[in-house]
Amino acid sequence: MPQTKALQRQRVRSLGGFSMRKLTQFLDGWRLGASGVAFLVAVPLLVIFSSFFRPTQGIWDHLIENVLPGLFANTAWLVLGVSLGTLFLGVALGWLTGSCDFPGRKMFSWAMLLPLAMPTYVLAFIYLGLFDFVGPVQTGFRALFPQSGFRFPDIRSTGGVILVMTLALYPYVYLLSRSAFMTQGKSSMEAARSLGLSPTGAFFKVCLPMARPWIAGGLMLVIMDTLADFGAVSIFNFDTFTTAIYKSWFGFFSLTAAAQLSSILVFIVLVVILLEQRLRTRMRYTDAGKSGLRIDRFQLSRGLGWAAFAFSLVVLLAGFIVPCTQLVLWTIEIFDLEFGSRYFSLVGRTFFLASTAALVTCFGAIILTYTKRRHPDPCTSGLTRLATLGYALPGPVLAVGIFIPVAKLDNLLIGLLQSAFGYEASSLLQGTIVIMFTAYLIRFMTTGFNPVDSAMQRITPSIDEASNLMGVKGFALLRSVHMPMLKNGLLTALTLVFVEVMKEMPITLMTRPFGWDTLAVKIFELSSEGEWERSALPAVALVLVGLVPVIFLTHHSEKQHRK
């Protein structure tokens, strides 16, 4: 058996061989690319982590004494309140539209997703404007009841933030719980009834517990977004970790304090992510959706049906219709004043940033998915997982985590240039849009990766083999087989990243070069000064763009349930 001998020899050589050679064997072009992306993600993570383990004494003491107790309390209240709120709205609406029948169910089942189109900071400033002393709610109330003397509770309060965030984020819980309720096989319900449970009992004993992993999965997304939120809380002047990071950097110019606060926030987020991934595996096992039987919806009685209608309508009004109407009214009010060439240049810059970032990110996503496909080994999959971990870093944290190493690299390069060429420079990378694109790439890699990866998984190895047998390989295979099959996934990825970058605010705010304002940053600046009307015009553009992924989602979930 000469062949096996040769194989054995090869194996012996590779075992005892030079380690550099193994490294170059491992690092072919694909893996090199993937390692590059993973490296980009790893650097800010490491920078943030290391600042947790290397606390600077004075700052740490100050933080523990004066800042952290309040931050922890605020964060805890916010997370608790938003969790309870989104659970209630999300599960109730998910169950009503997923398992029951009531007037308007079909319309509500997609309309309840609409609040997803609103960035939290947009909803936040609209609510501040609505409930302002001179806002429409209070003026209207005073006009109706001039003598009542009723004092509205201040919307700028813990309750107010919780309300706004709940309205903006409940669709996550809604989407997942609804899909769980809809895919539950009819036979689970029937099995429970044949074992002696009434329909109501079967719901609470079987349907709800079976949907639990999905509901909890949606809740984890809500908690992650709540922890990462910067815009809404800062507009409400509600101090959380993200606003504290921003203030210590841009207010007190202490990057070290910002980094240490970031490290604590990252730890909290990572715990949430671990929980979420455990739930995800449970979700896979508790897949009840294989039976193709159409679900029997509960026919709600007339009264209950209209109550369900009213409930859904109130949520939709509060989360989307009323804020949108207010936005449009404000826009009409100030349109002539604000709309002009300055607005166009703002939109143009935002489009440029978003589309370039989308292209860069999708390019990275293609590299990652191809590497994963070519090398299905645990090492490479670890690499891809690291490279797609960036979504876990809240915007302000990422900004800090990138700025610190870039500043160091800059100093190093400047020193080198000076000693080698005598070239004097104050900064090379700092204050360029390269930093922004790197940050976007890290933060939105997951957004771009998931659609491309799921498209790639549809190209099974046997498709390649079939093409090879017919003589199609190499670039021809890529062009005539892979690209057409990846096209839709790529388009989805491009669109989603584009929209996310347009709506992104803290990274842009903290890393942009001078003059590189985007729509989101403009909204933040104007609404920080209480100029609700002037914030409305850029916000309208964002909400319109934000509708695109909502349409994607609706389309996708409909397709899923039609199967």
């Binding site: 096989g185 036979s187 689970s188 029937e190 099995a191 429970a192 009834r193 044949s194 074992l195 002696g196 449970l197 009434s198 004993k205 079987v206 517990p209 079976m210 639990r212 992993p213 096992y285 508790t286 897949d287 009840a288 294989k290 039976s291």
Partner: protein, 368 residues
């Protein structure tokens, strides 16, 4: 004592379209019944109607002397004390094996619950799996959990919906024997539906062959195979061919195979035109026989070869021949009919059959 299950003139449909029509049968305590029929013949609907998930259109269902369903009246499923083994098992994914089995025992005291579940789990051979979750089990194990869960509350009757269709063939045979054993051990009455006659033969005391919305025959497996009530039963159960013939007297009938003599399945007057059911095992291969038939098709079956033979006047019959007799297609071989119990149907009855079932790969030749 009342029978465990009585179904009387039951009809069930959706809208104006009847799925099952005028079905009547009875199951005694401890019997295992089986509804056998091709896919889509309404047998699962019948089972779900008995379970209480569907309302009856007309007719009545009685359990142990109590009426549970009639037109416009239905005892809800949770009050009927029926156990059901679902085709996809419908185990609760969020509960352990133990909790799944104990699910129907909510009103039982905790002290009695544990021994009952442990007992059942050891009956189905899954003692060690009590703390596992359904996804950690194989298909066969999941099914046994589903069986234990359905049996736990001691139902009046256990309903099984195509219980083995999701399993591979080897497991299917072994499990069907085991399940029969377990059901008998628990002294339970059971009713299953299947399209697989081997399963029906292995499990059931009584088989109901469903075709054309009705139960064509409700009898033991032996009777159904050897004395099918009509052509459609004969066509669905087992293999064979129908040969036209003319009755000569009370024990003799003439057909292409010559004059056959034996006892008739149903009395026919002299001169009556009939179709005679010829099973493959009724045709014996003998080289020296003067009667010859040409091989038009052959199927190798391991110990036997199933030959499709064309007789001199053009009719075909099937013959099961030990597989060391190897012949080529087109060759003529000697045959001898050996029919003791003659199954015959009057002409017009037999001609109603218009289906050849090939789901299980068995063949049936029809001549009208």
């Amino acid at each position: 004592m009342h029978p465990t299950l009585e179904v009387e003139n039951l009809s069930k449909g959706y809208g104006n379209h009847l799925v099952i029509e005028d079905v009547t049968f009875t199951l005694q305590q401890g019997e295992i019944g089986c509804l056998l029929g091709p896919s889509g013949c309404g047998k699962t609907t019948l089972l779900r109607t008995i379970a209480g998930f569907e309302d009856v259109h007309s007719g009545e269902i009685w359990m142990e002397g109590h009426q549970v369903a009639s037109q416009g009246f239905s005892v809800p499923p949770e009050k009927r004390r029926v156990g059901m083994l679902f085709q996809d098992y419908a185990l609760f994914p969020h509960l352990t094996v133990f909790q799944n089995v104990a699910f129907g025992l909510r009103s039982t005291k905790n002290s009695e619950k544990k021994p009952r579940v442990t007992d059942l789990l050891s009956t189905v051979g899954l003692n060690g799996a009590a703390d596992k979750y359904p996804h950690e089990l194989s298909g066969g194990q999941q099914q046994r959990v589903a069986l234990a869960r359905a049996l736990a509350p001691k139902p009046r009757i256990l309903l099984l919906d195509e219980p083995f269709s999701n399993l591979d063939v080897a497991l299917r045979e072994r499990l069907s024997m085991e399940v029969r054993h377990i059901i008998q051990e628990q002294l339970t009455t059971a009713l299953m539906v299947t399209h697989n006659q081997q399963e029906a033969f292995a499990m059931a005391d009584k088989i109901g062959v469903i075709s054309g919305r009705r139960i064509q025959q409700w009898d033991s497996a032996h009777t159904i195979y050897h004395r099918p009530a009509n052509g459609s039963v004969a066509a669905f159960v087992g293999e064979g061919a129908l040969l036209p013939g003319i009755v000569l007297d009370s024990r003799r009938v003439e057909c292409e195979l010559g004059i056959l003599e034996g006892s008739f399945s149903s009395p026919c007057p002299k001169g009556c035109e009939v179709d005679i059911l010829i099973r493959p095992e009724d045709i014996i291969h003998e080289d020296e026989s003067r009667m010859k038939a040409m091989i038009v098709h052959k199927t190798f079956r391991g110990p036997n070869i199933l030959y499709t033979l064309r007789l001199s006047k053009g009719s075909t019959v099937l013959a099961l021949v030990p597989s060391h007799h190897r012949h080529q297609i087109g060759q003529k071989i000697g045959i001898r009919p050996e029919v003791e119990d003659i199954v015959l149907f009057k002409r017009e009855e037999a001609c109603e059959i218009d289906m050849i079932d090939t789901i299980e790969g068995h063949q049936f030749q029809l001549h009208c």
